[in-house]
Subunit: 214 residues, 2 copies
């Protein structure tokens, strides 16, 4: 059976740390393009996407709309009803691909987890979600590993930079321009973003206007 | 036969982007601890380390001392003499472990490569190093993939955040405090570094003095 893949997503005024290089409208389009890339990767490994959105969005995919942005509360309320295995994957992982997700889904443990940059949790795969609860924000990676341990669940950390790289800041755009292959990379290029190299360090320029990583 | 693992290393005044939180002496000790972690990982997968150092260092490992810091020139001059497979791994990858290196060494292609954060090249494994040449700095990952292609060498990108995470800046210390297990993590802890969480974002504190990631 194909596991459900829950994808938390914020369509309105997302990715504020990119405000230095993208307008609100552009950030919204960019977030939507990243979501499309994640959905595409998830479908490629035969998971069925469920977008957990803070607003109703125009989409042919199944969505759950939550007024409250509290991700933990939402997920924890869904888990008791969950039947079968589930995947939770963030919407800002446009480098996610079938190969990296297959490694997650192939775990021999009760849980597979991929840390995000800065201690967050980018992907969790649970074979028995009823035995787990979520505690996102802060050093959630360490918290989730502990929660699994306390619940008697074995866990595996999947070592993937594609799933580790959440796109939050200007310098993260470098990763997307180098390693991306989907809609979000195309959108950045459409806006005029290109790689720039100065003194051996790599940044991004936009339409001739320098926005080098500081 | 165990491949040689060349490890470029700068012992004097390294890691200047960490000057905001570490003195020069501390940066030198920290770089040495990271080198020790890399050497340890390399030995665990039965590679034989060769430190390519800009100064003679006190070490029981084989070392090549190069006066000129030009890494490309040094490596390119060594390759024609290389017999058998070789690995080149940077000294600032303290999250390197046997599992990630095994994935590199297990490649079915002529070359395996691991991109660093920001477009660099953290690890290259070459089965026929005579057919390759190095072009580090800038977007060297893209350059090295192209060089391999132009030389008719097949290549595989190894998807590992442990080998992707080079420690250059203050925020990279967060990764080491979360995922590190070796001497360089212990050294940071000895200096008083701990994780800090504020407004859901993770940074590092040192002995009560805030040095949060900006």
């Amino acid at each position: 059976m194909c596991p459900h893949a829950f994808i938390p997503y914020k369509p309105v005024n997302p990715k504020t740390r990119l405000s230095c290089v993208l307008s609100q409208e552009e950030r919204e389009s960019f977030a939507r393009a990243m979501l499309a890339d994640v959905i595409s990767a998830v479908k490629e490994v035969n998971c069925s996407p469920v977008v957990i959105s803070t607003e109703l969005i125009d989409s042919e995919d199944v969505q759950i709309t939550v007024k409250d942005a509290d991700l933990n509360q939402t997920l924890n309320s869904l888990m008791p009803e969950a039947s079968g295995k589930i995947l939770i994957i963030m919407a800002d992982l446009p480098l996610a691909d079938a190969a990296s997700l297959k490694r997650v889904l192939a775990t021999g443990k009760d849980m597979a987890i991929v840390p995000g940059r800065g201690g967050g949790t980018n992907v969790i795969y649970l074979k028995e979600p009823q035995r787990f609860h979520f505690d996102y924000y802060g050093t959630s990676f360490l918290k989730h590993v502990k929660i699994a341990g306390d619940a008697g669940l074995s866990s595996e950390v999947i070592d993937s930079f594609r799933l580790h790289t959440d796109i939050d800041e200007k310098e993260d755009l470098v990763e997307l321009l180098i390693h991306g292959t989907g809609k979000s990379r195309a959108y950045l290029e459409e806006l005029g973003f290109v790689l720039s190299v100065e003194k051996g360090r790599v940044g991004v320029d936009r339409k001739g206007q320098k926005t080098e990583v500081e």
